[in-house]
């Protein structure tokens, strides 16, 4: 299948390894990956900070970039959530019904990585090897906006060598929330502290999730505490094999 990669602005600029892992994985499964170079950002930060009107040109740009593809995949629950739940709504609010219809069509074949693997491709065992103790944080948007349910866990359970440990209070928010982390820094930090306490209680070497943004938040906290647990995106685990170097 020909798959258009929506890498997300955060992965492109700050976490390129997540995009590379997604490409590696999809190609290993025998699919052709294309990277539409016009892509930029889903506009989520604007929308969620109260600048919905300014997000509309970004919605239009996203739709124009991706609408021709039959399968669009992103390694991010929250950006897929924005595409699915906000794009058409923003267009409609701005009075552009034509754009809203096109946004809905584009959203209907846009998937978050674990959804795409399990629901569309029908695979759970992607042939990965990752011999570490790992715990999984289901990010809020994957959990509640996309309802990915246990798909990421099913994928992780099939990874060879991986020892999956359950995260206490896993469904609790890590406190990121986009600009919330800055506007309400104290509350955000209190939420992060509890998340880190739970992660450390699992004695996992790695904590994984389907969103670079939440991992950036958690990773930023763990690094400040100088604890050894590292953050690794689900795509990176699934892309790892016995022969792959690095993590």
């Amino acid at each position: 299948m020909k798959v258009a990669l929506f890498v997300t602005c955060l992965a492109d600029g700050l976490f390129p390894e997540v995009g590379r892992a997604t490409v590696t994985l999809l190609e290993r499964l025998g699919h052709e990956v294309v990277f539409p170079k016009a892509q930029t950002c889903c506009g989520q930060m604007h929308t969620n900070t109260g600048y919905g009107r300014q997000a509309v040109p970004l919605v239009r740009h996203h739709v124009e970039t991706f609408e021709e593809f039959d399968a669009i995949v992103a390694p991010s629950g929250s950006c897929v959530g924005a595409v699915r739940h906000q794009h058409a709504m923003l267009a409609r609010k701005a009075g552009d019904d034509d754009l809203a219809v096109r946004a809905e069509a584009t959203a209907s074949h846009t998937w978050e990585l674990s959804e795409f693997l399990v629901d569309v491709l029908g695979v759970e065992d992607v042939g990965a090897h990752y011999p570490h103790r790992v715990t999984y944080h289901p990010t809020c948007h994957s959990l509640r906006l996309l309802r990915v349910q246990d798909k990421p866990l099913r994928l992780l359970r099939a990874v060879r060598g991986l020892h999956l440990v359950e995260l206490p209070d896993a469904d609790q928010c890590c406190g990121f929330g986009g600009t919330f982390a800055v506007k309400n820094a104290d509350t955000s930090t209190a939420m992060l502290a509890d998340k880190m306490k739970n992660i450390m209680s699992t004695r996992a070497e790695s904590v994984t999730a389907g969103d670079s943004s939440c991992l950036m938040h958690i990773g930023g906290g763990l690094s400040r505490l100088r604890v050894g647990t590292r953050t690794v995106h689900l795509a990176e685990i699934l892309a790892s094999t016995e022969n792959s170097v690095g993590r």
């Binding site: 976490f15 390129p16 016009a38 600048y51 950036m216 990773g219």
Partner: protein, 489 residues
């Protein structure tokens, strides 16, 4: 937002009532976060109710259908609210009650004070008084020489402690047993001096105190959970039985309720009386459900007044997105699952309506600029929507109100705020892949300032991030560059 031509939106007035705090949410939250006792009390209590609720919701096989039904009844009712209110007024009047309309807190307080003074009494008992907290009734009555006693145990604790409620269902959630004992010893006349913090002893002390009030009070003021339009019936659901005493013993009963509490028919209640107890207290059925219709000669209060309160509600109804908050049945499930509420407690919201629902309801009642930090007091994690028995999409409403705030700001100021300027710059950059790429290259210039791939401090406003978290440094090669280097030959 739309209003009817020539009709200014009436918001809850300033200077009265419990809808405006002294500080913005981030400031008030900072203080609350430092109070470890408060955090422990609230964390423990919300977890207990949360688990209880989850267990009893699990038992209902058609819970999702019930939620949908609740949502639909509410939406249909709000669409014809004026008709239902007229029907209610007629029915109440027909059954011997008197209906009063109050545009705002001041009007409602004046109506209620006059009604009480007309009876010649200066002592009243109260129950279900959320809405009276909203309008600041107790203070208004005090100014007229009338003493009001709260009879709900938790509200009594709050009242005696000269405190404010911090939860809509468990107003004293922030207090523990030892604190309650101290308050009783200090404020409750005739309390035994050897009172311990045993819950039974505390309850007995409160009971003795309240019983004397019930038996002497000739006037009661109540709120209402529902009003059935076609029969003119008012309903209060509670779990202590004190409400029942207030509603039946006094000679005069004055009920004040927000206009959104009306439901068209008795049959509509079947949905809500299933949704409410499981969502709020985690009980299968409500312990005390009292319903009364007008007056019945020789039985119960012989004078009944219903005060219908607007106080910003029609203004809210005028916002076709925001009006969804009026569906709320005040079950408090959203605050029990909210990670922000759990850490900050209710007082940080500065309103008698705290938590996720408070963050969307309060700014709509007061006008958004009076409470503009509240819609931002959420990480948009979505737990509130999943818990809400009438499916109010609180996260989307928060986003909607954030937008209304930024638009008001844009209208008010000729120069954009720094945030607006920054985001419009980012938006401009992101509309073009070429500009985005240039920005990524520019970002890379910061690399030499990072230590082992991390920044430990960043300039304002990102310094708010680095107070407690490291930030990742830009990588040597973006994804886009990697793709071009490896794929584009």
């Amino acid at each position: 937002m739309s209003t009817f031509l020539g009709m200014p939106a009436i918001h809850a007035p300033r200077g009265v009532g419990g809808l405006r705090g002294d500080e913005s949410f981030p400031k008030a939250a900072k203080a609350a976060l430092g109070d470890t006792q408060l955090r422990a009390n609230i964390g423990r209590a919300t977890r207990t109710i949360r688990e209880k609720r989850a267990a009893v919701v699990e038992e209902v096989p058609d819970w999702e259908e019930l939620r949908l039904a609740g949502q639909q009844v509410k939406a249909a009712t709000m669409a014809r609210l004026d008709d239902h209110l007229r029907t209610l007024e007629e029915a109440v009047t027909r059954r011997g009650g008197v209906v009063h309309w109050a545009r705002d807190a001041n009007e409602a307080n004046a109506i209620i004070a006059d009604l009480i003074l007309a009876t010649g009494e200066t002592e009243v008992v109260k129950v279900k008084s959320m809405v009276t907290q909203e309008i600041g009734l107790n203070e208004a009555l005090e100014a007229q020489g009338i003493t009001a006693t709260e009879t709900d145990l938790a509200e009594l604790i709050v009242q005696l402690g000269h405190d404010k409620p911090s939860h809509i269902l468990v107003p004293a959630i922030h207090r523990n047993r030892a604190e309650v004992r101290e308050i009783f010893l200090r404020e409750m006349p005739g309390v035994p001096p050897d009172l311990t913090d045993d819950p039974r002893q505390l309850a007995m002390a409160a009971r003795a105190h309240l019983r004397q009030k019930f038996l002497t009070a000739k006037v009661a003021v109540s709120g209402a959970n529902f009003a059935v339009a076609d029969s003119g019936t008012l309903l209060v659901v509670e779990s202590e039985g004190n409400g029942r005493m207030c509603l039946t013993l006094p000679e005069t009963l004055i009920t004040v309720m927000g206009i959104e509490k009306v439901v068209p028919t008795w049959q509509d209640l079947e949905v809500f009386l299933q949704l409410l107890p499981r969502s709020s207290t985690g009980e299968r059925m409500n312990p005390y459900t009292s319903a009364w219709t007008g007056v019945t000669p020789g039985d119960g209060p012989q004078a009944f007044h219903l005060v219908l309160l607007d106080n910003g509600r029609t203004a809210t109804l005028g916002d076709h997105v925001g009006r969804e908050v009026l569906h709320c049945i005040k079950c408090s499930a959203c605050m029990n699952v909210c990670p922000v509420y759990e850490r900050t407690g209710g007082h940080a919201y500065g309103s008698v309506y705290p938590g996720p629902i408070g963050a969307v309801l309060t700014p709509q009642l007061t006008g958004i600029e009076d409470n503009s930090s509240l819609p931002f007091a959420s990480s948009l994690c979505g737990a509130c929507f999943d818990a809400c028995p009438v499916r109010i999409d609180i996260p989307s409403l928060l986003v909607h109100l954030r937008e209304r705030h930024t638009e008001e700001q844009a209208k008010e100021h000729r120069l954009p705020t720094p945030e607006a300027a920054a985001l419009s710059l980012v938006g401009w950059v992101m509309q073009s892949p070429r500009r985005f790429r240039m920005a990524e290259t520019a970002l890379r210039m910061a690399r030499p300032f990072a230590r082992s791939g991390r920044f430990r401090s960043l300039p304002f406003p990102l310094s708010a991030w680095t107070t407690s978290r490291d930030a990742p440094a830009p990588p040597p090669e973006t994804f886009r560059e990697w793709w071009e280097r490896t794929r584009d030959q």
